[in-house]
C-alpha cells in the first residue's frame, strides 16, 4: 500500500498558524506570482501560478505575503520525520511525501488507522493539517488524496478505481498537464473513461512514450516505486528583484550569486550536473528559459555561471527590465573522478579554491565570502547566515 501525505495549502497554512489574525482570511504567499494560497483564497478563484497583480484585482482583500522558505522547510522536515516513523521508505517533495507501507501491516494494522494516527500526530507536533490518500499504487494514492481536502483521509482500492476514475475529467489524471489535456480535448476525449477506451498504440502515436503510461493510469495502474531520493533531479535557484532590474551588472551579479548557491549545493551532495539552465521573467510579462548540456558534468561555480550567462544573454535581447532570474542544474549524477589537464590547470585550481570557500562558508555562513561580481548586490538585498535572502516565487529554496 502507498500512502500520500499532502500538506494542505502549505505555505498559507503555516502563515495562518503563525499569525492567528490571518485565519479565515484569504492569504497568498508568493513574490510576483502565487506560490500557494489559502483555501479561503482558492474559493475566490485564485490559483497557483497566477500573477499577483491579477490576484489583487480578483480578490482585493487578500493578504499577500512574501513568505519565508526556511520556516516552511522546517515545518516540512518535521512532518517528513514523522512520516519516516510510519514507513521505511519515504519519498518527499516540497509539500508532499509518498510512503511505501509494504511490510508494515502487522505493525500498523489497517492503513486507514495508521493514516488517522499520523494525521493526529502531525497536528499535535506541528499544528498543521494534512490530507492523506491511500491506494495500492502512487497514482491511486494521489487520487484518493484529492477526494476530499483539506484535512482528508481516504482510500481508493484497485476494485473501486474504474468506477471512481472513469467519470472524472482527464485533467485529474496525474501526468495530464495543460498541453496533453488540450491535445486530448481536441480529440473529444474529456473523461478518464474516454481516455481508457483509446487503444494504447493510438495514444502512443499522439503523445509519444508518455501515452503508454497514461493508458495504464487510466486503468488505475502505476508501476512507479517509492524511492528515497538521495540526489535531487533538479537544483534550481531563482529570485525576483526588489526593483525590476535593468543594470547588466546587477542582473549578472545575481546570476553569479545564484550559480554559486547551486554549485555549493552540488558539492555538498557530492554530485555534478551535466545540464545548466537559465530563466528570466521580464516586466512586460515576457520570459523564457533555456538549457544547455555540457561536454562533461560540472560542480564548478564559474562553469555554471558562464553557461547560464551565455544562455541569458541569448534570451534577454530586448530592452526590458527583469523581474526575476533563475539558474538551474539538471542531469545530476554522482561526482566522478576529475580528469587531469595537460595545459590549463584553471578548472582544477578552481576546484580546490571552491573546496576552501565551502569550508569557510560552512563555518562562518555563506555571506562570509561574496564574489566580486555579486558585490553589486550588497546593500540591495538583505543578508543572513545563508547569504542573500532570495525572494523566490516558488519558495522552494
Amino acid at each position: 500500500m502507498i500512502m500520500l501525505v499532502d500538506i494542505d495549502a502549505f505555505f498559507a497554512q503555516v502563515e495562518q498558524l503563525r499569525y492567528p489574525p490571518l485565519r479565515g482570511r484569504p492569504v497568498i504567499v508568493g513574490a510576483g506570482v502565487i506560490a500557494t494560497s489559502s483555501y479561503e483564497a482558492r474559493r475566490r478563484g485564485l490559483k497557483t501560478g497566477m500573477r499577483l497583480s491579477e490576484a489583487k484585482r480578483i480578490c482585493p482583500e487578500a493578504v499577500i505575503l512574501e513568505g519565508c522558505a526556511r520556516t516552511y522547510r522546517c515545518f516540512a522536515e518535521s512532518i517528513f520525520a514523522l512520516c519516516r516513523e510510519v514507513a521505511p521508505s519515504v519519498e518527499s517533495y516540497l509539500d508532499e511525501a509518498y510512503l511505501d507501507l509494504a511490510g508494515t501491516e502487522r505493525f500498523h494494522g489497517h492503513p486507514l488507522a495508521a493514516g488517522a494516527r499520523l494525521k493526529e500526530q502531525i497536528r499535535r507536533v506541528t499544528g498543521l493539517t494534512v490530507s492523506i490518500g491511500i491506494g495500492p499504487n502512487r497514482m491511486l494514492a494521489k487520487m484518493a488524496c484529492k477526494k476530499r481536502r483539506p484535512d482528508g483521509l481516504n482510500t481508493l482500492t484497485q476494485e473501486e478505481a474504474p468506477d471512481y476514475l472513469f467519470p472524472r475529467p482527464v485533467q485529474d489524471l496525474p501526468g495530464v498537464g495543460h498541453q496533453t489535456a488540450r491535445k486530448l480535448l481536441d480529440l473529444n476525449i474529456r473523461t478518464i473513461g474516454e481516455l481508457r477506451a483509446v487503444p494504447v498504440d493510438a495514444l502512443e502515436r499522439l503523445l509519444g512514450s508518455p501515452g503508454r503510461a497514461l493508458h495504464d493510469r487510466s486503468l488505475g495502474l502505476d508501476s512507479r516505486v517509492v524511492t528515497e531520493r538521495e540526489v535531487p533531479r533538479t537544483i534550481s535557484r531563482e529570485t525576483s528583484f526588489h526593483q525590476p532590474a535593468t543594470d547588466p551588472d546587477e542582473i549578472e551579479g545575481m546570476l553569479r550569486y545564484l550559480s554559486e548557491r547551486a554549485g555549493r549545493t552540488l558539492r555538498e551532495l557530492g554530485v555534478a550536473a551535466r545540464t545548466v539552465g537559465a530563466s528570466f521573467h521580464a516586466t512586460d510579462d515576457g520570459g523564457d528559459s533555456r538549457v544547455r548540456t555540457l561536454r562533461s558534468p560540472t560542480d564548478r561555480d564559474s562553469e555554471i555561471f558562464e553557461t547560464a550567462r551565455e544562455l541569458l544573454r541569448a534570451m534577454h535581447t530586448r530592452r526590458v527590465a527583469l523581474h526575476r532570474v533563475g539558474v538551474s542544474v539538471t542531469n545530476i549524477a554522482p561526482h566522478v573522478a576529475e580528469q587531469g589537464l595537460l595545459f590549463d590547470e584553471g578548472p582544477l585550481r578552481e576546484s580546490s579554491l571552491l573546496k576552501g570557500m565551502d569550508a569557510v562558508r560552512l563555518q562562518y555562513g555563506h555571506s562570509a565570502l561574496v564574489s566580486g561580481q555579486a558585490l553589486h548586490l550588497l546593500g540591495k538585498l538583505e543578508q543572513d547566515e545563508h547569504g542573500f535572502v532570495l525572494r523566490t516565487p516558488s519558495l522552494t529554496k
Binding site: R295, S296, P334, V336, E338, L341, L342, F343
Partner: protein, 372 residues
C-alpha cells in the same frame, strides 16, 4: 562531354573523391562531384570547403567537358553497374551513363557553382614514404580533440625540421608526439608548421598505404596539399595557436613500469566493462613487479585483474580513463610498453619498447584524480 571508362576504375575514382563530399551541407552544390573530361583522362573532384579532393585516371576521352552530378546517387549507381565499360556523356543538359544493357540519366547542377579552393604558392615541400606517413597518422590522430570551442586542438600539428618530421595531437587530456627522421631541405627559415584536420590526413594515409605511393606534401600559408599518385587532397589549415606542447612533457618522471602491451590492453578491456560511462575510470595499483587493475563503480559493480610487470619503485595508485589508455596501446605496435610515471596527479609518459614502426611516439596521459 563524352568519355568511356571501366566500371572498376570509375568506382575507384568515386570512392577516393567521396571522402571530400560532406555528409551534411547547406550548400547543395557540395553534394556533387565535379567530373572533368580532358584529352588526357578524367578527373573527379569533391569538396566540403575545408578539404578538397581531386583524383584522375587516364581513359579514352572523345569530347572534353565538365559536369556536376549528385555524388551519393552516382556512387550508388556505379557500385551496382556490371563490371564492364561505362560510357558517359552529357547531352541536352543531362548526364547520361550506359553500361552493358543499363542506361541512366542524372540531372546535373551548374558547373560554375562548384567552388574552387584558392591555390597559393607552396613555400615548402617534402616527400614521405607511405609507411612513415601511415605510422605518423596512426600514432597521433586518435588524440585529436573533438571540442569545437578549441579549434586548434581539432587538428594535428605538423612540424618539420631539416632532419625530422613531427606530428603532434592533443585534446588537453592526453597528447601524442610522433616523429620520423628524414631529410627535409630547409629554405631560409620558412615557417615549417601547420595544423591539419585528421579528416585530411587519414584518407591520404589510406591511399598511400593502398597504392604504396610516396606522399608529397606541400605547405603554403593557408593550405596544405598532399599528393599520392594521381590523387591530390588540399586542406585548409586550422588556425592556432597550438598549445606549448613541449613544456608539458615531464622531465622528472623516474618510476619506470614495463608491461606487455597486448596483455595490458585485454586486461583494460575486461575490467573497463564495469567502469562508469562518463569518466571510464580505472585504477592502476603499481606494486613490485606487478600491476593490479581495478574498477569500482557505484550502482554497477567492481572488477579486478592483475598482470606481471617490471617495476622496482615505491607503490603507486593512479586513476586513468580506460578509453584513453586503450587508444594509446592500440596505436603502438611493440610487444611491451614503458610507462614513465611520477605521481597520481602528474602526466605519465607511455612509449613503445622496441617499435618496429617507421615512426616513434611519445604519449602523454593525464591521470584521473582518484577519490578516496
Amino acid at each position: 562531354m563524352k568519355f568511356s571508362i571501366h566500371q572498376k576504375d570509375l568506382q575507384r575514382l568515386l570512392t577516393v573523391a567521396g571522402d571530400g563530399v560532406p555528409k551534411k551541407t547547406t550548400l547543395p552544390i557540395l553534394s556533387n562531384y565535379l567530373i572533368e573530361a580532358r584529352p588526357a583522362g578524367v578527373r573527379i573532384a569533391a569538396t566540403d570547403l575545408e578539404i578538397s579532393i581531386s583524383t584522375s585516371a587516364e581513359t579514352a576521352v572523345e569530347t572534353p567537358g565538365q559536369v556536376a552530378v549528385n555524388a551519393k546517387r552516382l556512387q550508388e549507381v556505379v557500385r551496382e553497374l556490371a563490371k564492364d565499360e561505362v560510357h558517359v556523356q552529357v547531352d541536352a543538359g543531362k548526364f547520361k551513363m550506359k553500361c552493358a544493357r543499363s542506361a541512366f540519366e542524372l540531372y546535373p547542377m551548374p558547373v560554375d557553382d562548384f567552388p574552387t579552393l584558392a591555390q597559393e604558392r607552396a613555400t615548402f615541400s617534402a616527400r614521405l614514404p607511405a609507411k612513415t606517413f601511415q605510422a605518423l597518422v596512426d600514432l597521433t590522430c586518435y588524440a585529436v580533440s573533438t571540442d569545437e570551442t578549441r579549434p586548434a586542438l581539432g587538428g594535428v600539428l605538423i612540424q618539420i625540421t631539416d632532419k625530422e618530421i613531427r606530428f603532434i595531437a592533443t585534446d588537453g587530456h592526453r597528447m601524442s608526439k610522433a616523429h620520423a627522421s628524414g631529410k627535409f631541405p630547409v629554405e631560409k627559415g620558412e615557417p615549417r608548421e601547420a595544423i591539419i584536420p585528421p579528416k585530411a590526413l587519414i584518407p591520404v594515409a589510406a591511399w598511400a598505404t593502398e597504392s604504396d605511393h610516396e606522399v608529397e606534401m606541400e605547405l603554403s600559408s593557408a593550405a596544405a596539399t598532399f599528393k599520392v599518385g594521381a590523387t591530390t587532397l588540399t586542406s585548409r589549415l586550422l588556425q592556432g595557436p597550438f598549445p606549448p606542447y613541449e613544456s608539458v612533457i615531464p622531465k622528472d618522471n623516474k618510476k619506470q613500469l614495463i608491461v606487455g602491451r597486448e596483455a595490458l590492453l585485454s586486461s583494460i578491456r575486461r575490467v573497463a566493462k564495469l567502469s562508469d560511462s562518463v569518466s571510464h575510470q580505472i585504477r592502476f595499483s603499481v606494486r613490485k613487479d606487478r600491476l593490479h587493475l581495478s574498477v569500482s563503480t557505484a550502482d554497477i559493480g567492481a572488477a579486478k585483474d592483475d598482470l606481471e610487470a617490471a617495476y622496482g619503485e615505491d607503490d603507486l595508485e593512479i586513476g586513468y580513463n580506460a578509453v584513453y589508455l586503450q587508444d594509446i596501446l592500440k596505436s603502438l605496435d611493440s610487444d611491451k610498453v614503458l610507462f614513465t610515471l611520477n605521481s597520481p596527479v602528474s602526466a605519465g609518459v607511455v612509449t613503445a619498447v622496441e617499435s618496429k614502426r617507421d615512426a616513434t611516439a611519445l604519449c602523454l596521459i593525464m591521470p584521473l584524480r582518484l577519490q578516496d
